[in-house]
């Protein structure tokens, strides 16, 4: 955990702070003093992620040690009625596997695409101040292409949970037919 201890000293590009001090236009003195503070803290990725590893370990201990203790102190006399699956007091019927709405899958698909897009946005946002106009135009192209995708799924009503029966009562018959009821699929 310690081999890379303090290889890196804080990574603060100084231009950024100049920019900030201008845009803030007040409280500069305080700003600088605090900034100097955090710069002194040594940084190391191994140390930080090692700490997180300790966190995971402690978390596992915190979850399973109480469960073990409980096994010792809590009563345990199960019977088939206690262990039956809950169904509001009735005998549970059929399997838990019911067919789900395909929409769950479609939402996950659309999410995945936009998730990747968001991941691209993060490094872009970090260097944005450095590159300025160039970065803005580049990301605008990237985003607009993806916005076409969003517009497409929106138009094709993939984002609607309840779809309206669009074929029903269109055109010149629209006025004759009352508003269609939503078709609930589940």
């Amino acid at each position: 955990m310690g081999i890379a201890f303090g290889l890196i000293s804080g990574s603060f590009p100084s231009e950024k702070y100049v920019r900030n001090s201008i845009s803030l236009s007040c409280g500069n003195l305080k700003y600088y003093s605090k900034f100097a503070d955090s710069k002194r803290v040594k940084k190391s990725m191994y140390r930080d992620f090692g700490t997180i590893f300790i966190f995971i370990f402690l978390g596992i201990v915190l979850v399973y040690v109480p469960l073990l203790i409980q096994k010792l102190v809590a009563p345990s006399n199960p019977n088939p009625d206690k262990l039956a699956t809950y169904e509001c007091g009735e005998e549970s019927e059929g399997s838990a596997w019911v067919q789900f709405n395909i929409r769950f899958y479609v939402v996950a698909l659309i999410f995945l695409i936009f998730d990747v897009e968001v991941v691209f946005l993060f490094p872009w946002a970090v260097v944005f101040n450095e590159l300025g106009m160039l970065a803005f135009v580049e990301m605008a192209i990237f985003l607009i292409i993806l916005l076409i995708g969003l517009a497409y799924v929106w138009k094709k009503s993939d984002l609607d949970w309840v779809k309206y029966n669009v074929k029903y009562g269109r055109g010149r018959y629209a006025s004759l037919i009352e508003k269609p009821k939503p078709v609930q699929e589940s």
Partner: protein, 162 residues
């Protein structure tokens, strides 16, 4: 200390990957895949690629794995069909696997690896951003086209035909 942690993570990665292949139930495989991805994240951290490490979790665990599990769960009448991927032709498979391991191992040992000095990068995310915006601009923009294509194709396929 670092070594112990490293081997623990390697153990988790390979062990769970073995579970993915070996498990008789598809859902168990998908769940074991979670630990494989988390293990790979740990390996990324050892390579000082912290940005990639967290992106690995955001995209693979948060997106792809959820998609896989939804896919399995949405498959109709999954209990009546015995979902398993039992292996067939173990003999031939074993020979092929051993052959591939031999070739790959040989390649690993004969390759003159280019060793870089181990210095911790300053800010990986900023470097990645700079590279994406300057050097690899075209692939980056093409990636958005690829994502658009994937989005349209996937939603079209999953739409119910009337």
């Amino acid at each position: 200390m670092v070594d112990i942690v490293f081997w623990i993570i390697v153990g988790i990665t390979i062990g769970s990957a073995f579970m993915v292949v070996q498990s008789k139930s598809l859902l168990y495989s998908a769940y074991a895949l979670l630990f494989t991805f988390v293990g790979v994240t740990g390996l990324y951290v050892f390579l000082w690629a912290d940005f990639l490490a967290v992106v690995q979790i955001v995209v693979y665990v948060g997106g792809i794995l959820v998609l896989i599990i939804f896919g399995i769960m949405l498959t109709n009448k999954i209990t009546s069909v015995n979902i398993s991927h039992a292996s067939v032709q173990k003999g031939i498979g074993g020979v092929v696997v051993l052959g591939i391991i031999g070739v790959l191992g040989y390649m690993v040992f004969i390759t003159p690896w280019n060793q870089l000095a181990a210095t911790e990068p300053e800010q990986t995310s900023a470097t990645i951003g700079r590279l994406l915006m300057m050097d690899y601009l075209l692939p980056f923009e093409v990636a958005s086209l690829l994502l658009l294509g994937a989005l349209i194709a996937a939603t079209t396929l999953s739409r119910k035909e009337n």
